[in-house]
């Protein structure tokens, strides 16, 4: 089983925190869709796996009219084997989702919506330079929940001046709508974003890690007490509602990435497409996929397994490490993780032979993972 990710590199406007690849000019939308279709076709030779998830991400896929999305889904069905009931997710912004759009998305086969809410407060939305208002968010959720059961929403925490109470209220609003899946991210200041430059120039304060950590604790407490499972660092789902597409990334499964800047992984090689719409389109007009490839060494794959594993509820299985890598990797992992087990940031279950981050260690997993890495 494998997933297909399709990157739709257009946005109405740039969110102040975002460093993903997108363009705010929609002129090339149609030619880009053609290029995506071309890439879907060209990739099939080298990717002979049954597809069980399709994911439209971005950018803002909800900017595309339903018929273009339908066309792309069609292209996938035409060239690949797809399981009978695939998970088909579309990322959408509240301002694009009126009732008509929602019903047409449903009719073309989208069965999961991931809605970029971020916050139910206009002050936060303004800071993030989102294109929608808090009122639009509420309205959108009212309609979306009528037609879709499988909905995920994004929330951002650790935003400057966001109080504990406001954060609790944001979570409460989601709970009130009974949304079954939540992806929630700490506001991260990426270099070369509008936020980074505003912080540098002193217009707004930097984000505060202690605040983010407190928000994170509240988030876990509120959601887990309401039946959500904290299955990945930034992802919470009711049973049966985990993101199948994204879970595949964390479990090291194969995936195909279509579109500018999209990444693909076949179990050995990772490739990434050029992150420029014009060059991407040009290249595909000449039947060439504009991608670079790297072959992962065993150490690279081990490092990725550690890095993603520690983020999930499934942890890192020592048995899996021994089977997929070698006994030496297993021994190395045991030695390296000892001090973290001793200081309570990691835990090891001796029966299942699984290492996981403890609640105390969860928010520190990058540094821990790095320490467990194997580098020459």
């Amino acid at each position: 089983m494998a997933g297909i990710y399709i990157h739709i590199p257009f946005c109405k406007q740039a969110c102040s925190y975002c460093d993903f690849h997108f363009s705010t000019s929609l002129k090339k939308k149609d030619t880009l869709v053609d290029a995506l279709a071309k890439e879907i076709k060209l990739r099939k030779e080298a990717f002979d796996h049954t597809i069980d998830t399709i994911y439209f991400g971005g950018g803002t896929p909800s900017l595309l009219p339903a018929h273009q999305i339908e066309f792309l889904i069609h292209e996938i069905y035409k060239h690949y084997t797809v399981t009978p009931l695939p998970e088909i997710t579309l990322e959408a912004n509240p301002d694009d989702l009126d009732e008509q759009k929602i019903t047409s998305l449903k009719s073309i086969g989208i069965n999961r919506l991931s809605i970029g809410i971020q916050s139910f407060y206009n002050q936060d939305l303004k800071l993030m330079n989102r294109a929608h208002s808090a009122e639009e968010s509420i309205h959108c959720l009212e309609i979306a929940t009528k037609h879709f059961k499988n909905i995920s929403i994004d929330l951002i925490y650790g935003v400057q001046h966001m109080t504990m109470d406001r954060w609790r209220e944001n979570i409460q609003t989601v709970l009130d709508f009974n949304i079954p899946h939540i992806s929630s991210y700490a506001l991260t200041i990426e270099p070369k974003t509008a936020l980074a430059s505003r912080i540098r120039s002193g217009q707004i304060p930097n984000v505060d890690d202690a605040l983010a950590a407190s928000h994170f604790e509240i988030l876990i407490e509120q959601l887990t007490s309401r039946g959500y499972i904290h299955y990945e660092l930034s992802n919470f789902g009711k049973p049966g509602y985990f993101s199948k597409n994204n879970t595949a990334y964390w479990l090291g499964k194969k995936y195909l990435g279509i579109g500018p800047s999209a990444h693909s992984y076949d179990g050995k090689n990772r490739s990434w497409n050029i992150n420029n719409n014009t060059l991407y389109i040009k290249s595909l007009e000449n039947d060439t996929i504009p991608a670079e490839v790297e072959t992962l060494t065993m150490a690279d794959r081990y490092n990725e397994a550690i890095m993603t594993g520690l983020r999930t509820m499934w942890g890192v299985s020592l048995t899996m490490i021994e089977n997929e890598f070698t006994d030496q990797y297993q021994q190395y992992l045991l030695t390296q993780s000892k001090k973290y087990i001793d200081n309570g940031l990691l835990t090891i279950d001796l029966d299942s032979k699984i290492i996981k981050a403890t609640p105390k260690g969860k928010f520190l997993t990058d540094g821990i993972a790095s320490d467990l890495f194997f580098v020459d």
């Binding site: 991210y185 890690d209 993603t308 997993t365």
Partner: protein, 598 residues
């Protein structure tokens, strides 16, 4: 012999010594156009970049004056206080000196101390007023300064510009007319002064000498008096731009000698060369074994590179006999070497040469001077303390003595106040104050050498806005109240961060060290207390707060490789850190204490 002139150039850094030397070589036709390279005498890259001459050399020129051909030996001198002994030996090899003074900046402290050295050696001084073409030049006033200093006639001062060539001919004529020809007797037993040596990886050590009496011949069996070793003179010759082998070098002249010596330590500057069969009875006066003044630990960044570092240090020592080192080990840094240097500049040079010539990045620990400690049990027995860990326990300590220097500072009258405050803060005691001119003051202080090791030069420059020059000479040991300040990181004492400081400064230095370390030690998953202590007494404390968040929010398809590479890089960086207890300490933390005031 009456056609030989031996001279050196005394000048402050940047006053144009190297440019003047170039011009002299040009004018006498010693250098062809093709060979021209700015600042010819500074052959090490490092010297050229720093604009200072670290190792002295010699070069021979020929000049026809009034129909007669003269041989002019220019003996170059190093231009930094760390190398004052080498300067004194170069001066001892000459009969005359060009005193080069910048027409805009006038006389500086180091120029004066070297001038005094020259006068003590009865050198004929030819004052040269350089850079007269500069718009900022102040020739009348600076000429007055020179006349005051030397008690000479203003007419004797030669206005020049090494850059444009003004005055070069006058200088050459003055060398011939004013500098006396060497005296000496070619029939006496060989007596030659070693004033420098250079290590050549292919030919061994090249020894530079000045023959006082007798002659040195190719193939002769010779003896170095201080070391007592004998050699065969495989090759002798004169130094032009390249070496010119000759059958012999006679009294009064300057030359080089190759004997196949592989270790620079066998060639001691100031030593006397004589004939092995018919030795001179008179060793040339003034020989000293050069003693290191500043000590620091040098450790490989990667503990595995210890043997490689040893190899590099041994090679460096082959051409820098003033470098001494002995193995030591540190709980924090592993195996390394305790090294002795002539001064802080020398330390920096060694560090840079390790990096450039051997690609070895090293960790240098807090430098200290060499103390002498005495215990109560045995109050007469000297315990040499070159390393903080050598200091006996305070309860057993009877007394400690530390090296003192006589410091000479020349500055503008406006800055006397701030300069004095700095020197007093540095435990200096003023011994003399002389107005060289109404505007320029020379101050003399007795100061502990240890105080100029830490951030003295930089602060002197700051308080005097650059208008202060500094020189020093050692004046022996004096009693001192010395304590060892230890640094504890997460309750573990870090030996490599211990420092020997005067009791009065201990609190201040301890505080600055922990503050600096708090900035440099990255936050980890737990709070890290950093403490400074004297014995069991904590004198300062800071805390590196625990990380609250160390995780990327998003980790999907494309984020995975990017994130992995970032964390791999982080891991590599961590590998270069030093583990003390469960705390990782970056290398620059060990060096931070060198720059406490940044």
């Amino acid at each position: 012999m009456k056609h030989i002139r031996n001279f050196c150039i005394i000048a402050h850094i940047d006053h144009g010594k190297s440019t003047l030397a170039d011009r002299l070589l040009d004018f006498t036709g010693t250098v062809t156009e093709r060979q021209k390279q700015d600042q010819l005498l500074d052959s090490m890259d490092l010297e050229r970049e720093r604009g200072i001459t670290i190792k002295s050399h010699a070069i021979q020129m020929e000049y026809v004056h009034q129909g007669e051909t003269y041989v002019l030996n220019l003996i170059d001198t190093p231009g930094h206080v760390d190398f004052s002994y080498e300067v004194s030996r170069s001066i001892a090899a000459c009969e005359g000196a060009l005193l080069v003074v910048d027409a805009a900046q006038s006389i500086q402290a180091q120029t004066i101390s070297n001038l005094y050295l020259a006068l003590e050696n009865d050198l004929q001084i030819i004052p040269v007023l350089n850079k007269v073409d500069l718009p900022s030049a102040n020739p009348e006033e600076v000429t007055d300064d020179i006349v005051d200093l030397l008690g000479c006639d203003p007419e004797e001062v030669i206005p020049a510009s090494a850059k444009t060539g003004i005055g070069i001919q006058e200088i050459l004529e003055a060398i011939i007319d004013r500098v006396p020809a060497p005296k000496g007797n070619v029939d006496e037993p060989l007596q030659a002064l070693i004033f420098d040596s250079v290590y050549n990886p292919f030919r061994g050590v090249e020894t530079y000498f000045r023959v006082i009496n007798g002659e040195i011949k190719k193939g002769q069996k010779i003896k170095f008096l201080a070391t007592g070793k004998t050699y065969f003179a495989d090759e002798v010759g004169t130094l032009k731009l390249t070496q010119f082998p000759k059958q012999s070098i006679k009294s009064g002249d300057v030359g080089y000698l190759i004997t196949g010596i592989k270790d620079a330590r066998e060639v001691k500057v100031g030593d006397t060369i004589t004939d092995a069969a018919n030795p001179t009875q008179n060793m040339i006066e003034g020989f000293e074994n050069v003693k290191p003044m500043v000590f620091a630990g040098i450790y490989p960044v990667d503990t595995e590179d210890y043997e490689e570092l040893r190899g590099a240090m041994e090679k460096l020592q082959l051409n820098d006999a003033s470098l001494v080192f002995a193995p030591e080990s540190s709980a924090a840094l592993g195996f390394g070497f305790r090294c002795g240097f002539l001064g802080m500049l020398h330390l920096e040079i060694i560090q840079e040469r390790l990096e450039r010539e051997f690609d070895m990045t090293v960790i240098t620990t807090v430098p200290n001077v060499s103390y002498q400690a005495y215990t109560k049990k045995n109050p007469e027995e000297i315990i040499v303390v070159n390393n903080p860990s050598d200091l006996p326990d305070p309860s057993k300590l009877d007394r400690v003595e530390e090296p003192f220097i006589k410091a000479s500072i020349i500055t503008k009258a406006d800055y006397v106040g701030p300069v004095m405050s700095l020197c007093i803060e540095k435990r200096g005691v003023i011994t003399n104050q002389t107005y060289l001119t109404p505007e320029r003051v020379e101050l003399h202080f007795d100061m502990p050498l240890a105080e100029i090791v830490f951030d003295f030069y930089d602060r002197l420059k700051t308080v005097s806005k650059g208008y202060a020059s500094f020189d020093y000479s050692p004046v022996g040991l004096r009693a001192s109240k010395l304590v060892k300040v230890d640094i504890l990181i997460n309750a573990n004492s870090v030996d490599a961060l211990s420092a020997l400081v005067h009791a009065d400064n201990a609190y201040d230095i301890g505080k600055k060290m922990v503050e600096k370390l708090r900035e440099l030690i990255p936050r980890q998953q737990f709070d890290i207390p950093i403490q400074a202590a004297i014995g069991a007494k904590i004198i300062s404390r800071e805390t590196v707060k625990a990380l609250r968040k160390d995780v990327t929010a998003k980790c999907y398809g494309g984020d995975i490789s990017r994130k992995r590479k970032l964390l791999e890089k982080q891991k590599k960086g961590k590998k270069r850190m030093r583990q003390v207890g469960n705390v990782e300490i970056p290398q620059q933390a060990f060096m931070a204490v060198l720059k406490l005031n940044d």
